[in-house]
Every structure is written in C-alpha cells, then in structure tokens.
C-alpha cells in the first residue's frame, strides 16, 4: 500500500478553519488552516490526541458540526465542488450518499427504540425512494453483505440485543447503502475487542475494494494506521503538524509531536526499550497563540516558535512528506545560528 492509489484527489480540504464560542464573546479556533487530501481508493488516517481536531474535521466535512461552530475560512472540495458554499438543504445531496460516516460507540449511534434492520431500511428509503417492502429486502441484503449471519432474524433485533461488533456492522450497512465514494470512520473499533476489531477492518478493506471507495480513518492507534492506511495526517491543537505516506511518518517522523507520538507506541510483538518520557506539565493547548501550538511542550523550541506560525514545508526524502515546524525552515534556523554566533562573540 505504498503507492498513492489515485493520482486525482477525491476530496481536498484546503485551509479549513473552524471556531467555537469561548468565554467573554471570544472564539476558540479549533481548526486552523487544516489542509489534506484523499485520493480515489485511498485510505488516509487522521491521527492525534483527544482535542486535536480530528473529529471536528470529520463533522465539518459531513456538515454535522454543532450549530455554535462556525467555518471561518477554507474549502472542502469533493470532485471540484466546494461543499461549504452549498446551503443546508443541499448538504443532503452528498451527505449519506457520496460521503458516509460511521462513529465510535456504534450502539450509542443507533436509535434504541427502532429495530436495527428498520433503521437501515429508513436510510435506504430516504436515499433511494423505494417502497417499504423493497427497502426491507435491500436492508436484509446489506446486512448479509456486511457479514451478519441470519440477517432476516437480526433485522428485527433491537440495538441492545446486538453486540458492539454487530452494531458496528449495522452502522456500516447503513453507511454503505448508497455506495458512497468516501467513508469516514471515526474510531470505528475503539471499545471493541481486538479480534472483533480485526473482523471489522477486514470487512472495511473488502468493501472498500469492492465499492472502489476512499476512506478517512480517524484513530489514535498508530499500529492500526500502519496496517490499514496509505497516508497519514497528524493533528495537534487544530493544526495538521505533519502529513505523508504512512512509512515516512512511522519510520522518519519529523515534527517533534509526531516523534513523541511514534515513540510512545508500545508493541505486543516484542519488548522495546522506551525512553522515559517526562509527563507533560501542561496538558492543555493554547489555541490563541500566534505561534506553534506545540511549542510549550516542545523540547526543540526556539526563537520564532512562540510567535510565528510555522510554514508547512516538504521534509525528508519522501515526496508528499510535509511538516509544520520551524526546525525545517532554513530561514528560521539560519537566524537562530547567527543569533547564537552573536551571543558567542559578545
């Protein structure tokens, strides 16, 4: 999965900025000029810690953000059409049909009062306008295609009667009912057992091939990313701090945050020496800084980090590997060198 599958991007997120209301009429910029793209049939992973903006990015693409969120700038382009310029009603033109999403905690995403199969049938009717009877047939077929045995009987099961893995299969059936071009999977297996996680991903990969679909995978599990994704965008504090092919990110991480993230991956297959990490004194992120939002925690922090927003620059030897860090900015590093020389000569 090393090659970029599609030359042409299916979805481009360009300089997307989103803010939420904060105290005293101020706004918190939770996404600050976020850019990445997803090629056709490609799986892109969005990784980062809680609060990094992964889920807000996904919800903004889906037009499902909270009403208090505002998009302050940028574009989300699906096949040359900017999704952000459409009005609310037209969101339905692509949401659920061209782009579908599955969520963490599948049981919480299903309506507890409606039979699982009927919930799939509703989606089918909404998008395909078929009769009730036909919708039920399609729903049972979809349930079979996502590996639910005994689909006719399970159609009548209520969500509480399903296991977590089964509920996620129902969500996948619902998401795929209109054969979307892009599936957004937000931590689809968090909270599920590892053998069920494996089954769900095996299913997703099969369906992705079968439906020639792209996938945006949101997760914080880098091992899972390594096994499933083509490219990775690493988010921290609402910035994409590093992006590139999965091998480049895992083997040659460039941004100090990515380095910390990759360095904290424990392995089940062998014992590794882990360098002791100091607990980060400040866990919260200053969203108002004009500089790098990782600077307060960064061991390489220097002159411009607190005040100047780093540029997104090509790093390493792999094409498409970028990082947003002053360490790779020749001009900034040069200035640091001359400063140091000046100090020495004083």
């Amino acid at each position: 999965m090393t090659e970029r599958r599609g030359r042409e991007a299916l979805l481009r997120v360009e300089d997307l900025s989103v803010s939420f209301p904060a105290l005293r009429g101020e706004r918190t910029s939770v996404l600050d000029r976020v850019s990445f793209e997803i090629g056709r049939q490609e799986t892109v992973a969005l990784v980062g810690e809680s609060g990094s903006g992964k889920t807000v990015t996904a919800l903004t693409i889906m037009g499902l953000n909270h009403a208090s969120a505002t998009v302050d700038g940028g574009r989300i382009v699906l096949e040359d059409r900017d999704l952000l310029t459409r009005d609310g009603k037209n969101v339905r033109d692509y949401r659920g049909t061209q782009i579908a999403m599955i969520f963490q905690a599948p049981k919480a995403s299903l309506n507890p009062l409606v039979k699982a199969g009927a919930q799939i049938a509703r989606v089918v009717r909404l998008h395909q306008g078929v009769s009730q009877k036909r919708a039920q047939e399609i729903a049972v077929g979809l349930m079979r295609s996502v590996g639910i045995n005994d689909a006719e009987r399970r159609y009548h099961a209520y969500p509480h009667q399903l296991s977590g893995g089964m509920a996620q299969r129902v969500m996948i059936a619902m998401a795929l009912s209109s054969q979307p071009q892009l599936l957004i999977a937000d931590e689809p297996t968090t909270g599920l057992d590892v053998t069920i996680q494996e089954q769900i991903f095996e299913l997703l990969v099969q369906l992705k091939e079968h439906l020639t679909m792209s996938m945006l995978l949101i997760t914080h599990d880098l091992a899972l990313v390594a096994e499933t994704s083509d490219r990775v965008a690493v988010m921290h504090g609402g910035h994409v701090v590093e992006a590139g092919p999965v091998e480049a990110i895992l083997n040659e991480p460039k941004h100090p945050y990515t380095q910390r993230l990759v360095g904290s991956v424990l392995r089940a297959d062998r014992r590794i020496e882990v360098t002791a990490q100091e607990p980060v004194a400040r866990e919260h992120i200053d969203y108002r800084t004009a500089g790098c939002r990782y600077a307060p925690k960064c061991e390489h922090r220097f002159g411009p980090c607190d005040t100047v927003r780093p540029l997104v620059l090509q790093v390493g030897h792999t094409p498409g590997h970028t990082a947003m860090c002053h360490l790779y900015d020749e001009a900034q590093v040069e200035e640091k060198r001359t400063d140091e020389q000046r100090v020495r000569s004083c």
Partner: protein, 335 residues
C-alpha cells in the same frame, strides 16, 4: 519487575484456587468465572487478559471483595479471605487496593482532590489531623502531580491527571497488593505510556505486587512478568509473558495475538477468528473455545479440559495431551 519466573521457594502473596462466580440473569445462571486458579508472587506483575465477558474483571472484583465469590478460595498470605465477613475484610483493605478503569467515575465529583486523598489516610492509617496535609503532598509527589491541583475537583482535571489521582489514592495506605483494572484504557497513547512507566516506577520504589487486568497486549508486554489468558470464565493458557506472546500454544491465544495490529506496514499472515464469543448463559461441556477452534476434536466436547505443561506454560488444550498432563487441573502459572 524482573522477567524471570518467581523462585519456587517463595510463597505466593495471592493464590486463587478454583474460583467460581455465578450470577442470576433472566432466570438463568451466568457462569462469569468458572474454576479459575492462578498465583501471584511478591513483587511481580501478573496480567489477567482476555476479551469482554471473559471474567477477568469479575475475578478482580472477587479478589478485592467488591463482590462475593460463589465458590473457591482466595488465599492472601496463605490465609483464606474469600469466606471471611466483609467486616473482617476491612482490616485487609489497606493492604489490598484497586485502581479503577474509569478515573472519572471512580472519583467523587463533589470532593476536591485534597479531600479525596485525605480519606485513605484518615481511614486506614489513622493519621493525625496535623499530618494529613504532609501525607497528601507526598502522595501528589509520588504520582508526579503538581500540588496546585489539590484544590481542584475531578472535572477540572484531564483524564491522565485523574488516573494519577486514582493511583495516589490506591497507594496511600501503602498496600502490598494492587489490582489495576484496565488503568489506561481511557487514555491517549502518549498518556498511556507515561502512566505505565509511572506504575512500573512506583512498583519498584514501593515494593508492590500487581494484578494487571487488561485486554491490551502491548501493555502486557511492557509491564508484566507473567500472563494468564482467560476465555468465557476459564483460564486457557498461562506462562511467562515473552513465552506466551512470542509463541502462544492455545489455539485461542494464537488467534487473539494474531489479531493485534503492530506498527509496521507489512501484510502479515494471520490466523483469523470467525464469529463472536458465545453467550455465557448457555452451559458448554468441555472446552469453551470448541465452537470457534480450527483444531476442534470430538474429545474437546466431553468433560473438563486439564492443563498441560508446555515449556514454561500451562495450556488447557487437548492438542498437548501427548505431552505429560499436569497433576492438578489448575493453572498455577510457571513456578
């Protein structure tokens, strides 16, 4: 936390013998824990692992007496504590402590961190009022939290900070034995590592013994000495961590370990596990894994499966019947 097996001449700190816990649900009986045996030796970390519903948390709750065992014995320092009254168990509370899975739900939201951390010192150690603050400050230092956080309430702390408070509370009474019930499952990867490092460090400094309940094999590899793998209320395999994880012998352990993603971009051959764990409501005769096992034989469906010695491990699988069976049917780890 050394990697060697416990010396044979050391007495176990904790011994679980044929533990059973049955619940009644929908007029039926659920065998949550069905004849589980293992030992934990002083100073070591034993990981109790398995998927949801395998009985690992129920086993832990029986040990710390948050629920009463139905049958079997739990020996702590050689004394059976499973049948003593809850009141009598109270005298053991300072010695046997637990860190809970969800730090948000296990801290009192209306108490400040200072109030929460004072409790164990008042209850267990009978500390004098004047000394309480010094004890609380010391606890905060041990778990590497700033004393300024003492005035806050749980909702003003991050998940990682809350779990450190949970650890501080558990170790306040200077326990010998601590049950860690999935202490990192609600944390991000980078926080998870620093918390595991902290637990290892505290164990070394304070000489504690851990029973680590988890489904995270990479954490097991990182912190545990021995591992006990459970499935549907029974022990399937136990042994030294490196042996079991590098070369699992039970067909269940094999598929379980094969399912764990590793941070490398290569497609690896995998033994796949089909289906889901069957309901614990339906009694199963023989091996609990029979319905999903690729190697199932007729004998697997008949009667109790004994444990067989395979290298350092004990494996409850008839495929190893050609190797001499162990005398007891209990998996007592790898003494």
């Amino acid at each position: 936390m050394n990697n060697a097996s416990a010396p044979a001449d050391t007495a176990p700190l904790l011994e679980v013998v044929d533990l059973e816990k049955r619940f009644r649900a929908h007029g039926q009986v659920v065998h949550a824990v069905n004849g589980v045996s293992f030992s934990v030796f002083p100073g070591e970390t034993v990981a109790l692992v398995g998927e949801s519903g395998c009985g690992k948390s129920t086993t832990a709750r029986c040990i710390v007496r948050l629920t009463d065992p139905t049958e079997g014995r739990i020996l702590y320092r050689g004394r059976d504590v499973s049948s003593i009254s809850r009141r009598a168990f109270r005298s053991l509370r300072p010695e046997i402590q637990m860190v809970f899975q969800d730090p948000g739900a296990s801290l009192n939201p209306s108490m400040t961190i200072r109030q929460t951390l004072r409790e164990p010192f008042r209850l267990h150690n009978g500390a004098r009022r004047n000394d309480l603050e010094a004890h609380v400050q010391q606890s905060m230092r041990l778990v590497q939290l700033e004393p300024a956080l003492l005035n806050r309430r749980p909702d003003q702390l991050s998940g990682g900070q809350k779990q450190r408070v949970g650890i501080a509370r558990a170790i306040a009474s200077n326990p010998s034995f601590v049950v860690l019930d999935e202490p990192t499952s609600s944390l991000d990867m980078s926080l998870r590592l620093s918390l595991l490092q902290l637990l290892k460090d505290l164990q070394r400094r304070l000489g504690m013994t851990y029973l680590f309940i988890t489904h995270d094999f990479s954490a097991v590899r990182h912190v545990a000495d021995r591992v006990v793998v459970m499935y549907l209320g029974k022990v399937m395999e136990s042994g030294l961590v490196d042996d079991v994880l590098d070369d699992p012998k039970h067909p269940y352990t094999q598929v379980l370990i094969a399912a764990i993603p590793v941070p490398e971009t290569r497609t690896r051959p995998r033994a796949k596990l089909r289906g889901e764990t069957p309901s614990a409501l339906r009694p199963i005769v023989g091996c609990p894994f029979q319905e999903r096992c690729p190697h199932v034989m007729e004998e697997c469906r008949q009667g109790e499966i004994p444990f067989f010695d395979v290298g350092s491990r004990k494996v409850a699988c008839l495929r190893y019947a050609s190797v001499a069976p162990t005398e007891a049917t209990a998996a007592r780890g790898s003494e």
